[in-house]
Assembly symmetry: C2
Homo-oligomer: 513 residues x 2
């Protein structure tokens, strides 16, 4: 049986000038060439779609916000004010979903940071919404604004995450001021397209104003491009709460993007079957898309899905399960069936950045990638079902995402790549280290990972026998130590700071629940 | 942003009768329904194939064994005795490869243990060839016969590994006796189809005799079915050593299976391009297949590949890299191009069963699975580039393999599965825990993993905050504690023991190098 010749590796070393990495630039705008894996046959996708349309037509969705119900009523939906139920005739659902764009461009501070959403594009996004933070030195604790800033810096430093969002939650900043502080951090520490909170009308308005200020955009310019995105979660099953409904409306009216994501755990908030959970998720996603299109036809939206299962013994949510992977394949099919771009997810229930954390995250990543996700949220740093953002996990996940980014690059197969001359040059039992074919290519031949340690056991042991998690601990500190914020006009930076000071002086803005 | 409602999980618990797991029975004979990912266009696959045929025709392979050269000469190959080079005209290569079966059945002790190789089948196999063993209690050390026996027991206890092989290497048993001791262990501790050493003619002969004895087969019955397999490695580039050549010949003549696997590390023993490394691997695999077909037309063979890259800074071998994944896609294409079943690999260079170990293994597993591998060797317990078999890694890898086994099962999408009635039954904002649709299905709705811990942070912390690796440590001990050997007729067991005693008394059999 084969074992590599570990002693042989020392026979010939290629002299050690550092492998430069301009290849990371191509990570900014990834295109995923892999075949899309189906979970269902075409006729069963149609059956799920029909069941979802029937759900919206006959059962409906409870909408807690009166303004959203008014928008639906004006759009010819059937609205019962007493029960707050909104029912959409299937022809109306289809007509509204057809108005949504299948792709759009998310704008960063400059064109090199623009990110296409839709088609073959695949944008990885880090953990969202975590109230806690953890690292190997200090353990798990409620997150602070310093942590939020740190994660923004880590994201900014990583080309494989092209969007930025405010995670973990800065719990030391009062909720009425938090959107001001973190949006300022997002806009000054990063030049990537950003998430804006949809936690109430006034917070959204502040967020949009800050984006315009930081990016030097007038009202019309802002409305003409997609400069911000938010994530909308329905309250499965079949309910849409006030801030989420207003978020859809406000983002649509402003021409900004809503990622409408039912969070459907099969066996808990959704049917115990994955087909049933996907049917519910599909109905709710289409419902949210319909509201956005009623608010402004053509509004940018993403069909989001986050369907997993629970542990039927305890009710605990699970992620990266085989059911999760197949649900991701199915959700991708459903999004393509209605012609929308698709947001998938990654995740783990692990409480530590350990092996389980890696395998659950990586299975869910493969599910989303093979499902054809245009955005994969929670793809770096997620732990504990989303309750914690982990510094070490973030760094290790980035390593996995860069592996995907490299898998997406085509393998050269020209006659030169095949290299018959190299095969002829090296004698039987010889080696290719010094072949001309090798010497011409070795510098950029292979991806060079940052955390993986490929040294032999002796070298690794002599250097402290560190696990990948321990190496990741050193890596995030180094990233923070060497961080340089992106350039920004001083006047914009000052205007932003003045705005934040003024709005804070006015008491900030309430979170609406 | 979404976070699961962890407090909500306690609202409703489904009373705790253990989830039974008869589903594991279907792991024994897995069929992989996933789409095969290509690495190359059809015309570039043809170009690689043509370059490999040209390599065999114009450059040839050095064959160190005189008998093998005689077999080639008798089969109209061009043989140069002085240089030991064997060249195959491309028409001859094609004609010989066409004689090999595209699928066959590997026989266990009884039909429930038979394993189909070829077509959609996917058999995961654990680590092969490791000289060392490691666990969290005792660290890394040379493996002993007790370790070999332990791994056989662990494999026997796991339905997701349908074949068994002698790993790690029992270094406390002299090499001339080792094949006797470990083959006896394989045949008495397991009833699965087994690996037989190809380390010299006499060892192979002993191995076959022992299989016949243990399984109650006459010479003719044995030769009429495939009861044993071995792995043949070429000495890349373009060299076949004595024991490997004799292994191919002896296994073919006995009607037993050779898995012919060039181990081509791009940039070391193979060209630095993955297309070049695959071209060399393809040529060498076809060369081995040709020798088997000359020895006995129709002999069972598997097209093996193990193509990865090295770290160009140090020459260290690497596994689970993006290059590895794409090479696996390409190798699967090449095997299908010549109509042969395909053996892929998994691996990691990590020195510990840590996070790197998991992600490199899991990336390589996905490469092999999406490449359509009929066998995936080293899929459980591999560490340190194959130099060490890890107990904890074995257990964690089994968890990942079971996840693949579950991903391979179709997702139900009947009208009942979609469950419109369940959607209608549960009110907006409610839950499905007690829905009739749930109650009828919850027991077998989801895969229940063994190592993953889905409890919340408090429960996990109170229970010692164990990592997945630490939980795996407890699991393998429990597997060994509860191990029951398969039933075997006492007479066969005694005959086997007598044979081993007699052959050991005769001095065993030499390893040929």
């Amino acid at each position: 049986m084969e074992t590599p010749d570990r002693t042989g590796r020392a026979r010939r070393r290629i002299a050690g000038d550092a492998l430069s990495a301009p290849r990371a630039l191509k990570y900014r705008s990834l295109s995923n060439p892999l075949l899309r894996q189906p979970a269902f046959s075409a006729d069963r996708i149609e059956a799920i779609h029909e069941a979802a349309l029937r759900t919206l037509e006959e059962l409906g969705v409870r909408v807690l916000d009166g303004e959203a119900r008014a928008v639906f009523r004006a759009g010819d939906a059937e609205v019962d004010e007493e029960t707050q139920m909104v029912r959409l005739p299937r022809a109306l659902t289809k007509a509204l979903v057809a108005k949504a764009p299948s792709r759009f461009m998310l704008r960063g501070a400059h064109p090199a940071r623009d990110v296409a959403i839709g088609g073959e594009s695949c944008a990885f996004v880090h953990v969202g919404g975590a109230p806690n933070v953890a690292d190997l030195d200090r353990g798990r604790r409620p997150a602070t604004f310093a942590d939020t800033s740190n994660f923004i810096k880590l994201v900014q430093a990583s080309d494989v995450i092209p969007l930025v969002q405010p995670t973990p939650e800065a719990q030391d900043v009062p909720v009425e001021l938090r959107h001001l502080a973190v949006t300022e951090a997002l806009l000054t520490l990063s030049d990537k397209p950003l998430y804006v909170y949809a936690r109430g009308r006034a917070q959204t308005r502040d967020g949009f104003a800050m984006v315009r200020m930081a990016r030097g955009l007038g009202e019309a310019e802002f409305a003409a491009g997609v400069h911000a995105y938010t994530v909308i979660n329905t309250n499965s099953p079949r309910q849409l709460d006030v801030p989420m409904a207003r978020g859809i409306i406000d983002f649509a009216r402003a021409g900004q993007a809503s990622i409408i994501t039912p969070f459907t755990l099969a066996g808990a908030m959704a049917p115990v079957t994955m087909a049933g959970a996907l049917t519910l998720a599909h109905a709710e996603a289409l419902f949210g898309v319909a509201l956005a299109q009623l608010a402004r036809p053509g509004a940018p939206v993403v069909y989001g899905s986050f369907t997993s299962n629970v542990d039927m013994k305890s009710g605990s949510p699970a992620f990266g399960t085989p059911e999760f992977v197949k649900a991701a394949f199915g959700a991708g099919q459903l999004a393509r069936h209605v012609g929308l771009s698709w947001r998938g997810s990654a995740g783990t229930a692990s409480n530590a950045p350990d092996q389980q954390g890696v395998w659950e995250t990586l299975f869910s990543l493969w599910g989303s990638v093979l499902g054809g996700a245009n955005m994969v949220i929670h793809a770096a740093g997620w732990l504990e079902g989303g309750l914690t953002a982990s510094y070490e996990k973030f760094v290790m996940d980035i390593e996995m995402l860069e592996t995907f980014a490299e898998i997406f690059q085509p393998l050269g197969a020209s006659d030169d790549d095949i290299g018959y001359e190299a095969l002829a040059e090296v004698l039987p039992g010889g080696h290719f280290f010094s072949a001309a074919h090798t010497m011409a290519r070795y510098r950029d031949a292979f991806h060079a990972p940052k955390i993986a340690d490929w040294r032999n056991f002796g070298q690794w042991s002599d250097d402290g026998a560190k696990t990948a998690g321990e190496r990741a601990n050193a890596a995030w500190k180094e990233h923070l130590r060497t961080f340089t914020p992106p350039e920004m006009e001083a006047a914009r930076r000052e205007a932003l700071a003045d705005f934040v000071a003024r709005r804070a002086g006015e008491g900030g803005a309430p979170v609406e629940n």
